[in-house]
């Protein structure tokens, strides 16, 4: 049957030699260029399988003679990105953190780099907008436990808070006045009243007047006579509107009774020095950053009346 090939009269094309109830099929083979493209694709596929990972094994695929891998591609892209930053990172590394502000380009790069590093390392506690949470300071405001100039922020970042094994770590020690039996529950209530009065949340009362005396004896050494706090020992300001743990009576009572010991990692041992500098610049830029203290102030603080 397959030998019944003949030329179709209407088209002049040979049939394939089959016939079904009078229906025949013309033999129009693939065009040559199509066929060769197809062969070329096969050849390409074989070559591809040789040079790239292609054939799966039990644990991994064949490596391919080019040695390409998606992890390797990522690594090289990351390296290229790092290399593109290398020059400015070297400049930042050579510049003391308090002098970054004097160089517009370095400051900008530092703030942007800090913004990125903050998202990876800091947002877990301080929040994506650095607004903090209960026990984790808001970094946007103008209240600083240890100081808000860029060098101090840098110092705090490098050594962390209450990090064992780091001599320069920020360490504040508030006694647990209730738990350790230093003050009685009633005395604590009086102190709490006093604190709420100096922070403007309550009117003076008998309790607060008794508390004032207790405050002067037990608290003023760190928190100051008027509750103005001390950055030297990391004692918070008590006469302002900002509360790390909360300013209501129950929370202050809890704080005085058991004390609070917040912690922060010493980033100096976790991140490279340039990244820590960048973080300091970023945190300083959030709106609460302070000018450097007196000696360096003349150079750094030049707040123009007009924005430039």
């Amino acid at each position: 049957m397959a030998n019944d090939k003949r030329i179709d009269e209407a088209t002049g094309v040979e049939t394939v030699g089959h016939e079904w109830d009078g229906i025949e099929e013309l033999n129009n083979p693939l065009p040559r260029w199509w066929l060769w493209t197809f062969y070329a694709c096969i050849a390409f596929a074989i070559g591809y399988c040789v040079v790239y990972p292609a054939i799966p094994g039990l644990h991994s695929a064949t490596a391919g003679t080019f040695g390409w891998s998606s992890r390797g591609a990522l690594a090289s892209e990351m390296k290229a990105a790092d290399d593109s930053h290398a020059a400015i990172r070297a400049e930042i590394a050579a510049t003391p953190v308090e002098q970054l502000a004097g160089n517009e380009k370095l400051l900008r790069a530092s703030i942007e780099g800090g913004r990125a590093a903050f998202k990876v390392n800091c947002v877990q506690c301080h929040g994506a907008g650095a607004a903090g949470a209960k026990g984790y300071p808001n970094l946007n405001d103008d209240d600083w436990l240890w100081g808000g100039d860029v060098a101090t922020i840098h110092q705090t970042l490098l050594h962390g808070v209450r990090q064992p094994g780091d001599d320069a770590t920020r360490m504040s020690q508030m006694p647990a006045f209730g738990r350790d039996g230093i003050l009685t529950a009633a005395q604590i209530q009086d102190v709490v009243s006093h604190v709420r009065v100096i922070s403007g949340q309550e009117k003076a009362s008998g309790s607060s007047q008794r508390g004032a005396a207790i405050f002067a004896q037990n608290c003023a050494v760190c928190h100051g006579a008027n509750g103005e706090g001390s950055r030297a020992v990391g004692a918070p300001k008590l006469n302002d509107a900002i509360w790390l743990y909360g300013g209501d009576r129950a929370t202050i009572t809890e704080t005085v009774t058991n004390a609070r010991y917040g912690v922060m990692p010493a980033w100096g041992s976790r991140l490279d020095p340039v990244t820590v500098k960048m973080l300091a610049a970023y945190v300083h830029s959030l709106g609460g950053g302070e000018a450097a203290p007196a000696p360096a102030a003349a150079a750094a603080a030049a707040p123009a009346a007009t924005a430039k």
């Binding site: 002049g12 094309v13 405001d141 302002d240 900002i242 709106g287 924005a307």
Partner: protein
Amino acid sequence: MTNAHDPKLARADHSDEISFYEKRKGVFPRGSDGAFRRLKWAIMAFCLIVYWGTPWLRWNRGPYAPDQAVLIDLAHRRFYMFDIEIWPHEFYFVAGLLIMAGIGLFLVTSAVGRAWCGYACPQTVWTDLFQHVDRLIDGDRNAQIRLQNAPWTASKVARRVFKWGVYLTISFLTGGAWIFYFADAPTLQREFWTGTAAPVAYATTGVLTFTTFWLGGFMREQVCVYMCPWPRIQTAMLDEKSLTVTYKHWRGEPRGSVKAAQKRVEQGLDPLGDCIDCKQCIAVCPTGIDIREGPQIGCITCALCIDACDKAMADVGRPRGLIDYFTLDDEAKVERGEEPAPVLKTIFRPRTLIYLGVWSAIGVGMLFLLGQRTRLDLSVAKDRNPEYVMLSKGAVRNGFTIKLRNMEDRPRAVVVSISGLPGGAIYTDEMDSDLARQSLAVEIPADTTKRIRVYAVVPKGAKPAEFLFDLKASDKEGGHDVAKTTFTTAEGNGQ
């Protein structure tokens, strides 16, 4: 198997019968003269002068902006056109111009048929130019045909190489001129020749040189017939009232020479028509068609055949206009023995007037917008995280990113102030917060958008509020803009 059943032979038998490929027949148009030819000269000169000359026009915009009259500054996202400067956010002006160009083509088609194809299309202009080069170098129509059919002798090779060299020179000048619209022309010219221009300048020049050389030198009428969508669209746009180049067959047929006509008269037969079959209409046609076959896709309505026919008619003392601009409607009227409609009535018909109305409305609307647009602009983005910050003394601070846009070609001093925020004051991130006040003086550099961080502070007891940022120019020219935003406290955002 017999030979008749041999597939190769069978195919060979049929291969000549149907082919979907039509080999190009060379077109060697004869040089001509006449009213339309002179009009085409004028339009060609105008188009080429505009194309080559425009980038070199200078326009004084002061020290902060380029002095090129027409400049598409892609790098800085600016489009300059004489006194108009367009920023990316005003791109609707460009879109409007493109829409006007589109409707303008409809308008022209409705009024005078394929006039765009015949006179102003770059393909037509450059094909015309190259055909003149052909005539200058190879001689007129007959000489060109002779040379085309001649064997490839050394002299033919030399002539071809020389002609293609001229083609290439024109193409290079054409392709090279394009890049000057995108950069300062004198500077780019210097950089181009010293090899220091951007690679894209060379690439663009190369590509456009090649397309001009190929499309204008060799493809020519095939672009119009096979490649260009516009003739196809025009087929749909033309109607029985559109002007087309028409052979008045009712006057011309039956055609025959002057001698044959005399003979017929002597024999007492019906006289012949006016067409003397001199084939001058075919000889001058740049697309090589015979207009006497009726309207067709290859006819770009360049009207050169009208010139040629008028000349022939004058030579034999018959009235002009055997081939002329005419409409199908008029053709039917003439065949019925009526008078054709006056030309002005044909041109200014309702369809054309509607196009004209839409086209003008868009144009006037854009001019109005152009006059109305502000050259000073303020936009305010409020910080969303954190929405507000409680400060030590109980004040509340909100952060804003403010964009000040100065679209003038000079720096401007402005004042940014707030209103509607009781007790509120603002300061920037480069100021001491103690200096916070109601308004800030800011200098915006020429032709830029300046971004500043602004903090608004309201003392203790702040309430959420909606308030306004206000931008006012300090110079005598003035100008101002307002942006509404909100002040958020722990109680909400005032909405």
